[in-house]
């Protein structure tokens, strides 16, 4: 950075760069930085708010509070007094975090157990209707986001009648079903990039079909499976409206608790902010870790045929 500045000054002095040229670059970079800051304002706000418990967030200096007043009280409230970990912070009564983890566990285990075989078959085998299945999956992934809300109306009535509405396992199953198209497509594309010659070599060496799958395909597909694991985890962790519709308060997941906080005018913004960050930050980090993996193997959005 300092090197660049020194070099630029030298270039201007020796007349290799004009002053107006440097000025334009500075103006351009400053403008771009302002644009980025503007876009990141919501993130800035939620982070400062979470540190401003008891300080004057709801006063005229609120938006740009003095960093010396920052404290972790709001985080303490979330972890020990809210429903985040334990209900009302009472140790021993499992709270929203446990409910979310139950849902996520069901989502991940069920979806992985159907996605891995499905992706293998779609990548390596020829069967009637193969293209149609793939086509359907891609269409749903790209265009059908709202279908689950439309179908929720019918499913809700069925679940209520069957006594399944307030059930974390059913909810997990619902999410698993919704996660199948995108993740099967993703893993299938990943498996397509594993060279067929490895399998041929294994077959020449006398390996059986099952051995080929277990000893060649699965180990080589591990990074892809890890990514699918993360995406299915996120599907269960992030979803809100179906959980809110189906669950009763004692089974609320973290996303529903978050909404309950923002919907309640009594809740201070600081506490909401700390809750929101503890809910979102870990998964945002995981998401980007997975995203890098995806981008190294595929292009964005899994669109590469």
């Amino acid at each position: 950075m300092i090197d660049t500045v020194r070099k630029t000054i030298e270039q201007v002095q020796t007349g290799r760069r004009s002053l107006s040229d440097v000025g334009k670059t500075i103006a351009g970079s400053t403008g771009a930085t302002l644009l980025v800051l503007l876009l990141m304002f919501p993130v800035y706000w939620i982070v400062t708010a979470s540190f401003s418990q008891g300080a004057g967030l709801m006063s005229s200096e609120g938006l740009f509070a003095d960093p010396s007043t920052y404290n972790l009280d709001a985080y303490r409230w979330v972890l020990f007094e809210s429903n985040f970990v334990f209900e009302d912070g009472e140790v021993g009564k499992p709270g929203a975090l446990f409910n979310s983890l139950i849902v996520v566990f069901v989502t991940v285990s069920v979806s992985l157990s159907v996605i891995i075989p499905g992706a293998y078959a779609l990548s390596r085998r020829k069967f009637a209707g193969r293209e149609k299945v793939l086509y359907g999956y891609v269409l749903f992934t790209q265009v059908g986001a709202g279908l689950s809300i439309a179908t929720l109306v019918a499913l809700y009535a069925l679940f209520v009648n069957l006594g399944l509405s307030n059930n974390l396992l059913v909810l997990g199953l619902f999410y698993a079903a919704g996660a199948i198209p995108f993740n099967t497509w993703l893993l299938k594309t990943f498996m397509d990039n594993i060279p067929v010659s490895y399998e041929e070599a294994a077959i020449v060496d006398g390996a059986s079909q099952w051995q080929v799958i277990r000893e060649v395909i699965l180990p080589l597909a591990k990074p892809g499976i890890a990514v699918v694991l993360i995406f299915t985890f996120l599907a269960g962790w992030n979803e809100f409206i179906i959980a809110q519709t189906l669950l009763q308060p004692e089974n609320y997941t973290l996303s529903v608790e978050l909404y309950a906080l923002v919907d309640d005018y009594e809740t201070p913004w600081t506490e909401f902010a700390a809750f929101a960050i503890l809910f979102a930050l870990p998964v945002a980090i995981i998401y980007f870790a997975a995203q890098n993996y995806v981008e190294s193997g595929l292009s964005f959005g899994g669109m590469e045929g």
Binding site: I46, S60, V114, L139, L155, D192, W269, A284
Partner: protein, 344 residues
């Protein structure tokens, strides 16, 4: 490439094991079937059930399978199409989609152009930073934006408006003290009436939906447009410069044609997403004030879950599904646009 989307993405199927392994269809079927069955049981089956419900007079959940509902033909659709609420909802949905997609494209292109510009230093880091919202859970971003649009006196956007008011008053005050022979007050039309109840007026709420949706979607647009911009050969720009083209001319005749296809493709997808927007209006104010801003899915959801009108709600949802199907058809027809996205 003029091959269809369908052909292109089945090209991979050429690269597969030799024929002798491909005859065992039953194993492949056995491997794929559980996933399809699970997906369809939560998707296709409820859709079929929804269509059936839309022809019944089911009101609350008890009547849905309790035998309390009877078939009434197209009555739900007839009462729906003669209901002003339905046409308002459909109109607001289309308007929302049009405004939101336009804003997303303009904002996306603007950000992408700035963050690939030769004059901007550190643009790679900036690009990495601006796509961060992509990783946030949707409900997180939406609740945060609801906080920003708080109508409280010290809600963030109201505070910013107060700061703006303060700045205007200060400037006018300074002018006033310079022109000591006149007494000048800050003109009313320059001042905002704080606090603004963002969700209290129809277009205030509508505007806040659009703003929020643009913020949710811009990382996707930026990623696609940036990768398209990077594919534009520098020589084209240089040649245009030599020919004396100004910045705007180069943007129109070099940049725009190069990014048109990926932007078109992204627009179709993002338009479908806007049409099916549910969470933003629901979390902000449940499609209010009154029922002014109930986008189609909010409208259908509410009729069933809150107002116990399952038959009517199903008719609304089926209507919405017809439109979603239309988007799918467009995506298929225009699918060859996809190669601008995938093949970098």
């Amino acid at each position: 490439m003029s091959t269809s989307f369908f052909e292109r993405f089945s090209q991979r199927s050429q690269q597969r094991l030799p024929d002798r392994l491909e005859n065992r269809d039953w194993l492949a079927f056995f491997l794929v079937a559980p996933g399809i069955a699970l997906f369809l049981s939560f998707m296709l089956f409820p859709i079929a059930f929804l269509i059936y419900l839309s022809f019944t007079d089911a009101t609350h959940t008890g009547t849905v399978i309790g035998g309390g509902a009877s078939l009434i033909g197209f009555d739900n659709y007839i009462s729906l199409f003669s209901d002003a609420q339905f046409w308002n909802s459909l109109g607001v949905t289309w308007l929302f989609m049009a405004v939101s997609v336009t804003a997303k494209i303009v904002v996306g292109i603007a950000i992408a152009v700035v963050l690939t510009h030769a004059r901007v230093r550190g643009k790679r880091y900036m690009r990495a930073l601006v796509i961060v919202p992509l990783g946030f859970p949707e409900i997180f971003s939406i609740t945060v934006w609801r906080g920003l649009f708080s109508s409280a006196r010290f809600g963030p956007f109201n505070q910013i408006l107060s700061m703006y008011n303060g700045a205007v008053t200060a400037v006018v005050g300074a002018i006033d003290s310079v022109l000591f022979f006149l007494s000048i007050n800050a003109p009313e039309f320059l001042l905002a009436d704080v606090p603004v109840a963002w969700m209290g007026s129809r277009w205030g709420a509508f505007g806040s939906y659009v703003t929020t949706e643009v913020w949710l979607a811009y990382p996707f647009m930026v990623i696609i447009i940036v990768s398209a911009l990077q594919d534009v050969p520098m020589e084209l720009h240089d040649a245009a410069k030599v020919d004396g083209a100004g910045y705007l001319q180069r943007f129109r005749h070099v940049t725009l044609p190069a990014i048109k296809r990926p932007v078109m493709f992204a627009s179709i997808l993002t338009a479908a997403a806007s049409f099916q927007q549910f969470l933003v209006p629901w979390v902000f104010n449940r499609g209010g004030p009154a029922r002014d801003n109930e986008l189609i899915l909010v409208y259908g959801f509410r009729e069933a879950i809150e107002l116990n009108e399952y038959g009517l709600s199903s008719a609304i949802m089926v209507t919405a599904l017809v439109f979603v199907g239309m988007f799918m058809w467009i995506a298929v027809k225009k699918g060859d646009l996809a190669d601008g996205v995938g093949n970098e």
